[in-house]
Amino acid sequence: MALGSVVSRLPEGAAVVAATIMPHALLLHSHLTHGMDRSVHMWQTLANLLGASAINASMQIMAATALFGRAVDLGEAPAILEPLFGGLAAFLFSVALFAASLSASAVSVEAGVLVFLYATGRRFPAAAARLTARLVNVAPALAALHLGASPVEVLVYTQYVLSLVLPVVMAAAVRRSRRMLGAAGRAAALAGTVFVTAMDLYSFVAG
């Protein structure tokens, strides 16, 4: 499972890196931290990441136990979980996916508002900006579904687009923040940028 965690097929590998780091969340996070105490912010972030990592690890262990060796679409997961772990597990999977989707959607919409503000230089009312940021994506998403694309395929390839943008965001952030980060932070951010860029290049060559 550990090997499978770091070695995966492409473009899924690059897509998972982008889905994990989430460049839009990096941007939004830096805006949401205004006024927060530095140590509170650090402990809060570490606690949240620890919780997320525990959930992530439990999902991987469960998937390795129940789904190893099977080609499974995300939509089939509850039907597979039910006979193995009971109806409650399948129900909780659906509830967790729904809650996570709502939260992820809110993050992407908020990040979209910030980026549109940056790109256009104009400030809009919050509700109108959020509606625009979300609705502008509904048409292409529905078109993809009607053309027969699998939602999971669309998910993977949009995350792959994210992975291509990730080095740009990280490199600009590292360049801008180099005086504030300190040696350790600079090295960590630079290592992350190099790793993601290497993943993208590798996916072009191998994919």
Binding site: M42, L102, R130, L131
Partner: protein, 118 residues
């Protein structure tokens, strides 16, 4: 890869959070102030990024609604618009808004409320 990558790269959030917090500005504010000449190069990939991620999250929501309710994907796509209502209606920076975002729930405020007996 998700689990390992999350552990390795979760560290970038405190780092960029510090950068934002210490400077009193978000990264995009800093880009605007200090990297203005690169804006024509930075803005298009950033817009592509948010378009891609918004489509991805919407797809995730469609799958979730489909699994949760059992309705077909086409119908789930309509129900999935619930996030539009939520996103547009929640107050910016409010507790409910931060709760929905999930990552920055102000636990310390809850602790201070409970210590005040509220």
């Amino acid at each position: 890869m998700g689990g390992v990558a999350q552990r390795l790269f979760g560290g970038v959030f405190p780092v960029f959070g510090w950068a934002g917090g210490l400077s009193g500005a978000g990264l995009l504010d800093l880009f605007e102030a200090r990297l203005k000449r690169f804006k024509p190069l930075l803005a298009p990939p950033l817009v592509a990024m948010v378009l891609a991620t918004n489509v991805a999250e919407y797809m995730g929501l469609i799958i979730a609604v489909h699994l949760f309710t059992g309705v077909p994907l086409d119908v789930a796509a309509v129900f999935a618009l619930v996030d539009v209502v939520l996103s547009a209606s929640l107050p910016t920076g409010g507790l409910s808004s931060r709760g929905l975002l999930g990552g920055l729930w102000p636990w310390w405020r809850l602790a201070s409320w409970s210590s005040c007996g509220l």
